[in-house]
Symmetry: C2
Subunit: 145 residues, 2 copies
């Protein structure tokens, strides 16, 4: 069974359930464990540490909101989730680090067909694929653009 | 079952069997049908039609060699293959066209972690992902570079 430890990366938009359902199907098919991660791009990270105002309140609010959305997503899934992670940092680097830490064999992400992978602000089109320590499944979601 | 019609794109290097075995596992898990495609990048295509010598003999030899390698690959697989395609043209465009024609729900390709997807000469790093009509599974193979 090739996929035992699956990391699903979501941007917690409406499209995340589509991607999550595919992840659930993969877990069922291969009897794998699912970890879901959402990365809030740190403002400090995005702007190279040169942020002139204190953004800790904003980051905290983003964290709270994301945690609620994550729970709502988990509640919609038909399979148990081993772990959810809401963290801050660089999107691709956090996803890769988590996959390495968990010795994941598959990363699943949403992909907008024409634009490649799209997660959240700052993510480059194929950032998750580049440098991934394992296989990557890009699940096509409808592009709004 | 999300993946019923799977298109496996291979470059017919030694690494193809690794990717093909993952494809076979996916087909087994989802009871899907497997089509394997190898695209020989047409020299005319690669050089914009401006090839000063007659390359039809070379193309024919490439086609023969690829067909043999394809058969050898199929012989190593534990599952039946619905169809094999050895064709010439643009790599990404032929893969996408085939996926559309077959109404595929998944394209599987090999991926060199650091360099993204790598199929054969001329393929851009993430060309298969961009513009794919369906989900794409990038199977990590060892990078030689």
């Amino acid at each position: 069974m090739p996929y035992q430890r699956i990391v699903l990366a979501v941007d917690l938009t409406d499209e995340s359930i589509t991607v999550a359902n595919k992840a659930a199907a993969m877990c069922k098919a291969f009897d794998g464990e699912l970890t879901i991660i959402h990365v809030i791009e740190s403002l400090n990270y995005a702007y190279g540490g040169d942020v002139p105002i204190d953004v800790s309140d904003i980051q905290e609010q983003l964290q709270d909101t994301a945690t609620k959305h994550m729970q709502a997503l988990v509640d919609q899934l038909e399979i148990p989730v081993k772990e959810t992670i809401v963290t801050q940092g660089g999107i691709e680097s956090e996803i890769h680090r988590t996959a390495e830490d968990l010795e994941a064999d598959l990363i699943i992400v949403g992909s907008h067909g024409r634009h490649g992978l799209a997660l959240l602000l700052g993510s480059t089109a194929n950032g998750v694929l580049h440098g991934a320590p394992c296989d990557v499944l890009a699940v096509r979601v409808k592009s709004e653009h």
